[in-house]
Structures are given as C-alpha cells and as structure tokens.
C-alpha cells in the first residue's frame, strides 16, 4: 500500500454520504441474515453503593457516552457458508473505545489495509508516521472461515461518542 493510495482511501471514506435512515432488509431468500443493534452502556449505582454497568436502550446519548454496536448473524440455510467476512464502518461521530479487543482487525485508512491496531500507522498532519490509535479507526472487520447450517452468533464493538 503506498501512502498516496491510503490518503485517497481516507478521503473517500470520510466523504461517504450519510446513508438513508430506512432500514435495509435482507431478502428472504438469503440464507444468511445480519441484524444490527446498538445499546448504551450506563453506569448505575446499586443500593450498596457499588457501581456497575448495564446495557440500556440508547434513548438519551451525549458526547462521551459509551455504545455497544452489535451485529447478530445466522446461517438459516441447510448448507454451510464459507469465507464469512463482516465489515463495519465506524460512524464518523464515534471512536473505537480504548478497551476494544486488541485482536480486533481494524482499518485506519478507510478499509484499504487491515490489521490489529498495534500493527498500523497513520500519517499525521506534518507528514510523519505515527502509531495508529483507537480514534483513527475507520472500520472494524471480523472473519469467520465458515458458519455451519443453523449456526448463529454475535459480533460487537464498543465505541464512544466523540
């Protein structure tokens, strides 16, 4: 990947128009279904005074709030599917949470190149390379070699509203 291509990719991703709000329903004939949801992580203090977190419907969200974006997948067919790759662009208004799984495969250049965050670098405004950080992440990706018939699962990433 040369630097120029990375930059162009970055431009393209950041300039993606906002998608229509209407949900896109997968065709019924499709053997695989994807279902997205989002929860807000709220810290609550119980009667004993100790704090714990719980997932709530994100009815009220403000900058700094923590969200969990989830995608449920299922193979409803009688046949296995292979090379199952789920790609999720991060909305511009959120950043990947710092405690995201370090093994999560991410892109910091608009899905042009991929790796774990520790292996990636970005070019800063002075033209110098630096290690990529969670705020640089543009996409996350999960790869499953195969899904057996009837198998389902869930993929999640944590994000914080910028």
């Amino acid at each position: 990947m040369n630097m120029l291509r990375k930059m162009v990719a970055s431009l393209l991703v950041l300039s993606l128009p906002i998608a229509p709000v209407a949900a896109q329903v997968a065709p019924a004939a499709n053997p695989v279904t994807l279902s997205g949801d989002v929860k807000a992580v709220k810290t609550v203090t119980d009667e004993a005074g100790s704090e714990r977190t719980e997932l709530v419907e994100p009815t009220k969200i403000i900058p700094g709030d923590r969200l969990i974006f989830g995608t449920d997948y299922a193979n409803n067919s009688a046949e296995p599917v292979t090379d199952f790759v789920v790609t999720n662009p991060l909305p511009n208004a959120v950043r990947l949470a710092p405690d995201a799984d370090p093994a999560l495969v991410v892109s910091v250049d608009g899905a042009q190149s991929w790796g774990t965050l520790g292996d990636l670098t970005v070019t800063d405004e002075n033209g110098a390379n630096r290690a990529a950080t969670h705020t640089d992440v543009t996409h996350v990706r999960w790869t499953l070699p195969s899904i057996a018939p009837g198998e389902s699962g869930r993929l999640e990433y944590p994000a914080i509203i910028r």
Binding site: M7, S15, V38, T82, N92, E125
Partner: protein
C-alpha cells in the same frame, strides 16, 4: 520680633500646598485571542495553516475553503483540482485528484470535519442532532459464489449536552478608586448545541471588605475586550446572552460602583453566574424535547451553571505635607534674629497603593524674610530659581514651586529652601 517671625513661620508651615491629579492604575484589558480557544476548530487550524481568515463574511463559504485548498496544493507543486457543489448551509461534495487528496491527508480529519458538517468539529463532542448510523456488511460464499448482504442500519441521534463555563478575564484584582469599575468575564458554551445564558452579577460575596453596587451587565459588542460605553450593548433584564454556538464564547462586562467610603487596600469580589436558559440542574438532568431537532437536552458536568469571581482592590493615594524649620543665627546659635538663616524643609509623604500624577508643591516666602537665592533643593539636588528650566522655581514675590511629577505611594520627597530674616 522673634514672636512675629515665628508666627509667620507657623503660617507658612500650614500654607504649603500640593496640587495633583489622582492616578489609579488602569485595568489591564487586552484579551486578544489570536487563535486561542478556536484552535480546536478545524477551520481555525486551516486558517492558521493558510494564513487567511475563512470566517469573515466575505470568506465564510465553503467555496473559499476549497479555493484555499487548491491554492495550497498548487503551492506545493501538486496537480490538483477541486470541484465543489452546494452552499454554506448544505453538505458539499468534494472530489479531487491525488494532489487534493494529499492536502486532505495533510489536514486529516480536521479538514473533513470542516467540509462535512463538522461532525467531529467540536473538541467537546459531536453536535447535538448528529445522526449516528451503523451498518454492517457481510460477504460470504454459499457454494454458489460470493454474496454480499447488509445489516439493517441502526440510527441514533446525539442529544444536546448543556454546559457552561465562566471565567474572569481580569489578570488580577482591578485597582480602582471609589466610583465606576469594570470587571471582565468570558462565558463559553462548551456544550454541543446552541444555548443562551442568563447572567446574574452578585456583589455581596462573603469576605468582602465592602460591597459594590452592580450598575449594568454589558456584552463586548465590538469584540475588542474593553468596555466601550455607548458601543457595547447593555443587557436589559433578564440579562441574557445571545445564543452561543458550541464552543462559542462571549466577553461580558460587569459595571459596578465602588462606594465612596471604600478605603485604600480594601478588597471586594463580584460574582458572575451564567445559567443555561434551557435549564440547570444536577448533571444528567433531562429536559425532554428541548434539545436540537426535538431531541433531549441533558445537563452536563457543569450543571449548566457556572460562576466566576472578579476582584476589586481599592487604591486611594494621598499626600501629606509636613514643614519644619531650622534657624542658624549669625553667631553660631539658633536664635531667630535679623540676619538669621531659616532653612525650611517640606516633606511630601505619599501613602496608599496607587500613585499620584503632577504633584506640585508650592509655598510662600514668609513676610519679614527674604529668599536666599540658589537654595532650593529637591531630595538633596539643587534646583534653579528660574522657571521653566527644571522642576523648581523660587523668588521672593511668588514663593517656591516644585513639580514632583508622578509619585508612587510609599515614597517620600523633601524640598528645602533658605530665607534670611530681615
């Protein structure tokens, strides 16, 4: 004879006079923020890189931004071309070749934020009303080739966070005499939505040596950081700022009257409180439906209320004159007889925390005596008798006059001159 002389001397001692203009240190009022707070704003970053103002009325268009980017790219010998559509109020589409992309890469997310509705423009958070939309896409092989499906798109709208900060812009206590004094504050909207703030000035702060009277609250209409009567708008009750955009700040002046009985070195604080008009409360308080686009407004960590303190220090400077005389008679004694030389010493003691301008000390030559030419001194240094050549002048007819200029509190100055008893 002796009695008469001393009577004259006594008159002369109380007759020394001082004229002066009172000088009080002016409030320091330079609050220029060349980029300051706005440096977080990507447009401001761009401006600093380009060296031009993109936010004045003639430049406040995205076309100007794109042209500026083009110019930058050309300066760097990069072939570049932008096309742009849309206007200030609409999202724009930028397309570019590699040169322009390089410019974008240089400025990174900041430029994109500037160009695409400032989704990430605010250091304090994305704008209220911003939609967060998340869609996952899967590719797989079901044995019949690669297929692609999208998940549904989940959409969240960012609610409005109401916050406020208030800061005193005075560099320290404002030194003032009884009368009008101006305290300067800054009110900032650190929230992510537009908000106006109601202002309250409280002159009765615990610990005050005296309380001032709040006359007015004004906003810095011309943006020069200094209160300009007749120019800067005085707010009418309930004193409320204009609606401030996220990260926008306004300079506010609190004009107070210091009472006449305030004495030197006394201190007084004035509090300025800014309360969000939407409402205040403990962090997390929700004002349903009162945010941007009908979303909720939620009180942030500041409680949507912030108070800053401005300090006043009274500087009253006074001059006390004392006059003393020593007598040397022609016989080596100290008797006041004809021919005796009387040396007068006028001491000007300046007290207080300020300074005094144009202090002039004058005295008459007592009846029955004659001024001894060339004996006028100030702080031990001789002054000529002629007028206009130095700080002093002296003659039998007009007496002595010494211009001390500006003198500071805590200093003392001595003037001497001799007379001979007739």
């Amino acid at each position: 004879m002796n009695t008469q002389i001393f009577s004259n001397m006594a008159f002369a001692i109380v007759g020394a006079t001082a004229r002066y203009a009172k000088s009080i240190a002016s409030p320091v009022s330079h609050f220029a923020r060349p980029f300051g707070r706005n440096l977080r704003n990507p447009i401001a970053i761009l401006e600093s890189k380009l060296g031009r103002d993109l936010q004045t009325s003639e430049n406040k268009d995205i076309c100007g931004l794109a042209r500026a980017l083009n110019g930058l790219a050309q300066n760097q010998n990069e072939a570049s071309m932008y096309t742009y559509t849309g206007s200030v109020s609409e999202p724009i589409n930028l397309s570019s070749d590699h040169g322009a992309a390089r410019v974008f890469a240089l400025f990174g997310a900041a430029v994109c934020a500037a160009a695409f509705g400032a989704d990430i423009a605010h250091a304090e958070g994305v704008s209220a009303g911003t939609l967060i939309e998340n869609t996952a896409t899967a590719t797989y092989d079901d044995g019949g080739g690669e297929k692609t499906i999208d998940s549904n798109t989940v959409v969240l709208r960012v609610d409005e966070l109401i916050d406020v900060t208030t800061t005193s812009l005075d560099p320290g206590p404002i030194t003032t005499a009884p009368g009008e004094a101006v305290l300067t504050f800054e009110v900032t909207n650190p929230g992510n939505g537009p908000e106006a703030y109601q202002l309250t000035a409280n002159p009765a702060v615990a610990g005050n040596d005296f309380d001032t009277v709040v006359e007015n609250i004004a906003v810095d209409t011309n943006g020069n950081g200094t209160y300009d009567p007749g120019v800067d708008e005085i707010l009418t009750a309930p004193q409320t700022t204009a609606v401030l955009a996220p990260d926008e700040a306004v300079t506010v002046f609190v004009i107070v009257t210091v009472p006449d009985d305030a004495t030197d070195t006394q201190e007084s604080d004035v509090e300025l409180t800014a309360d969000a008009v939407t409402g205040t409360g403990t962090p997390g308080t929700v004002f349903a439906g009162q945010g941007v686009d009908g979303g909720d407004a939620i009180v942030g960590t500041t409680g949507a209320s912030a108070t800053a303190i401005g300090e006043l220090l009274v500087g009253v400077t006074t001059v006390d004159l004392t006059k003393a005389a020593t007598v040397a008679d022609p016989f080596g004694g100290t008797n006041a007889v004809p021919g005796s030389v009387v040396t007068f010493t006028i001491t000007a003691d300046v007290s207080g925390s300020g300074s005094i301008d144009d202090l002039v000390v004058t005295d008459a030559i007592p009846d029955g005596t004659t001024y001894t030419l060339g004996t006028l001194t100030l702080d031990g240094a001789p002054l000529s008798d002629a007028s206009g050549d130095d700080a002093g002048e002296a003659s039998d007819a007009t007496g002595i006059s010494v211009d001390l200029g500006t003198v500071s509190g805590g200093t003392s100055h001595a003037i001497t001159f001799d007379v001979t008893i007739d």
